[in-house]
Amino acid sequence: MTGEGAAGPARSVRATAADLSAALDEGRTTSVEVTRAHLDRIAEVDGDVHAFLHVDAEGALIAAAESDERRAAGRTWSALDGIPIAVKDVMATRGLPTTCGSHILEGWVPPYDATVVARLRGAGLPILGKTNMDEFAMGSSTEHSAFGPTHNPWDLTRIPGGSGGGSAAAVAAYEAPLAIGTDTGGSIRQPGAVTGTVGVKPTYGGVSRYGLVALANSLDQAGPVTRTVLDAALLHEVIGGHDPLDSTSIEQQLPALVDAARRGADGDLTGVRIGVVRELGGEGYQTGVLARFEESVELMTKAGAEVVEVSCPHFVHALATYYLILPAEASSNLARFDAMRYGLRVTPGGDPSAEDVMRATREAGFGDEVKRRIILGTYALSSGYYDAYYGQAQKVRTLVTRDFEAAFEQADVLVSPTAPTTAFKIGEKVDDPLAMYLNDLATIPANLSGVPGISIPSGLADEDGLPAGVQILAPAMADDRVYRVGAAMEALLVQEWGGRLLDEAPELTSRGGSPLASSGTEWES
């Protein structure tokens, strides 16, 4: 929102969070105006997009009014005070339903906030609502949500990625300037790539997991979903840092992320060593995705970077490793949904025991993909198979990490396409789990080793005109590098395009459908 009358509510949905923050500081708009504009936008387009499972209009407007009062008194809480945000429905939100996209948690209202959510509230960000996701974050398309799929704003017949397709679509459709996602195998970065938005998976332990409903606790990491790299850095600084409530939280100060993003925006990469990962490309990657990636690498070279090819030979085993470790952890984590303390309870006839109730509830409450992974994980952990599968996967995980260590001796950051393809059609892969798993080919290694990564838009694939993404990975706790290089790439690409990639997205127009008519959307007021 630079220049001409950009502070008006109708335009404010297209503004970046950084620009909104400046507009608020200069008194050109108010948090109530900005929040209302986004609620209006949600009402207008979410019937088609279905990014939200719950919208809390009343709560968001109250928080916005309080922010405006603070600002008037000169006592804002953070750089993002008053900027509304959407939160993936896997984060516990006090007083707001949290379903994880599952029938088993339908109607559950947590009595506490996740640390990430508490930090958002403490920084003054009004929460617009909760975003759609694959059930318990298991999927790459958001089709596994029990409440119906989210649609990609670039083409409503296509998937927005997953599991955090709701958060990415909300940001891409200008329903929210910022969102929270979680990334276990690519669930922030892959939706970012296929919706033309920015997504960051922080270093494992860099953002608290307290109150994040666990899928695979050794892999899960919450992070920012935004339209620009600077916005991601601003949000990351709000949610990140040590949390005593999470025993895996790193007790170190975050690097200066916003500074790194601002510094990178000059587009100068002189002296930066960039490693192109040989194993993350080639066969299985769409031609247009590879073409945009190669152009991005050329741009980095022109900007002064030293580009080298690196080899990470064990990355070819990362997908198999992940699909043993993840189901094993998930089968254990999801044992907590036992119909005893919260969530759905299905009571079969007769005089059922607690175990009968558990079996009936889990059968009725879990969807196909969740059952698949629980059974697979139970298998991988069962005696007789443990060493051959789970034990072996843990060893290969060590080898993947050693590959990263060797690669980071040759390069400051590693780059690859984020996802092998652009957004596919809704329904295309939903009955072919293996084909679905391949979407996370390039993003999974970072989760296995805990390193941070960002996905930024790299352009549109020639064959289908849909967005592709480039991924930048850095060593653990060097998240500042992904922001510096990401911001530089973004600046160079925006200069090439003469604007942001999202400006190319088709205009979503209300088809007169009420958001109430879409499956699963609840309006709080």
């Binding site: 209202v109 085993h317 198999a320 889990r362 060893k395 989760n447």
Partner: protein
Amino acid sequence: MPESPEHTITREEVAHLADLARIDLTDTELDHLAPQLSVILESIASIQGVAGDDVPPTSHALPLTNVFRDDVERPCLTAEEALSGAPEVEQQRFKVPHILGDEQ
């Protein structure tokens, strides 16, 4: 323990695993899941033999150290809040179906 596991899962095995995981799968689901899981297993079995015995396992991405906190009182959920999502409550407790059978 089998030396080299077959990379297939039979319908009976799926039924047994579902029993262990406390999920009442339907017959249709059992028919559907066994071949699907076999395809997945076939694919992920490729990691066997990738790492030798000398490679240590990794359970967590970053090294973990035990974490302690001071044993002091701090605010927590009230009983009402803790019970707020319970399917059934009685006398400020979670009410659950019977756990033991008649003969136990």
